[in-house]
C-alpha cells in the first residue's frame, strides 16, 4: 500500500511539470510577431507568454544570444510588457 502511495505521489510530482510544458505551444517567431494581444485576455495571455519564457529560459544578457534567439526574446519580452503599458485599468 505504502509503495503504491509513493508511486502515485512520484508520478503526480514527476508528470505535472511535463504535462504543463506539453500543454504550452511554443510559438514561432512569426506567430509571436502576429500575436493577437487582447487586454481582455491579459491574464491568460501573459501566463502563456511567461510559460514560453520559462521554457525557453534565455540568458538575461541579450549579448549572449544568437540573432534568432535575441529577436525571439525581444519580441516575447516586448509583447509581455505591452500588456502593462498598453492596457488601461
Amino acid at each position: 500500500m505504502k509503495l503504491i502511495t509513493i508511486a502515485i505521489a512520484l508520478s503526480v510530482v514527476g508528470c505535472y511539470p511535463a504535462a504543463a510544458v506539453a500543454e504550452t505551444k511554443i510559438l514561432s517567431l512569426e506567430e509571436l510577431r502576429s500575436y493577437p494581444v487582447d487586454c481582455k485576455l491579459k491574464e491568460k495571455q501573459v501566463a502563456q507568454l511567461r510559460q514560453i519564457q520559462k521554457i525557453k529560459n534565455f540568458n538575461s544578457n541579450p549579448d549572449t544570444l544568437n540573432e534568432y534567439d535575441r529577436a525571439y526574446n525581444s519580441r516575447l519580452k516586448s509583447t509581455i510588457w505591452w500588456f502593462y503599458f498598453g492596457c488601461k485599468k
Binding site: 494581444v37 505591452w82 502593462y84
Partner: protein, 189 residues
C-alpha cells in the same frame, strides 16, 4: 491590431545601423565593485551644459561625485545622462579594480557633420538589477509611465555604437518607491 503591432515593433532590438567609425583602444573598468544607490542628487542645467552632483555608495563607503558635460549640439538631458555615467566611471576608476583594454569607437554618423568624439570610456551597459537614476536610462518611444507591482515604471532605450554597428537595447525601469530618486532596471532586451 495594427496599432498594437506597431507599438510592439517599436520595442524590438534587432535594428542595426552602420555608421562611419574609427576604432581606438582605451582602458575600461570591469565591474568588480559593489555599487549601491545614488543619493543627494542635484543637477544644474544651463544651455549646452549639465553639472551633476551626487553621493554614491561603493563597497559600503560613501563618495561624492561631481561631473560636468558640455556640448552645445547635444540635448541637456543627454548631457546629464552622460555626466552621471562618466561621474560614476571616474569614481570607480579612482577607487580601483580590474582594468582591461578594449576597443572604443569614434563615429561620424550618416550624413551628420557632427563628430561624436568618444569621451574615453565605452559606456557601461545597463543590466537587470542595476540601481540607477531615471535620467541614466534613455528615453523610449513608449513614453508613458505605467504601474507594475505597485511601482511606477517606464520603458527605456539605450544606444551604443561599437565596431561600426549601432546596438539598440530596450528595457523597463521601475522607481524604487514613490519619493525615491533611484530606479531599478527590471528587464532589458
Amino acid at each position: 491590431m495594427i496599432k498594437q503591432s506597431i507599438l510592439i515593433s517599436l520595442l524590438l532590438v534587432n535594428q542595426i545601423a552602420v555608421a562611419n567609425c574609427n576604432v581606438r583602444s582605451a582602458s575600461v573598468l570591469n565591474g568588480q565593485n559593489q555599487v549601491g544607490e545614488v543619493t543627494d542628487f542635484k543637477q544644474t542645467i544651463v544651455p549646452g551644459k549639465c553639472t551633476v552632483q551626487f553621493r554614491l555608495n561603493v563597497n559600503g563607503q560613501w563618495h561624492t561625485v561631481e561631473e560636468t558635460q558640455e556640448d552645445r549640439w547635444t540635448k541637456e538631458s543627454a548631457l546629464c545622462r552622460d555626466a552621471i555615467r562618466y561621474g560614476k566611471e571616474k569614481l570607480l576608476a579612482s577607487i580601483g579594480g580590474k582594468f582591461t583594454t578594449e576597443a572604443i569607437t569614434v563615429c561620424r554618423e550618416g550624413d551628420a557633420n557632427t563628430e561624436r568624439l568618444s569621451k574615453g570610456f565605452e559606456p557601461v551597459k545597463l543590466k537587470i538589477g542595476d540601481k540607477i537614476l531615471e535620467s541614466e536610462a534613455g528615453k523610449s518611444k513608449i513614453e508613458n509611465y505605467f504601474t507594475h507591482k505597485n511601482q511606477t515604471c517606464r520603458m527605456f532605450t539605450e544606444r551604443y555604437t561599437f565596431k561600426g554597428n549601432q546596438e539598440i537595447y530596450n528595457g523597463v525601469i521601475c522607481q524604487n518607491d514613490r519619493i525615491d530618486t533611484n530606479w531599478t532596471v527590471v528587464d532589458r532586451w
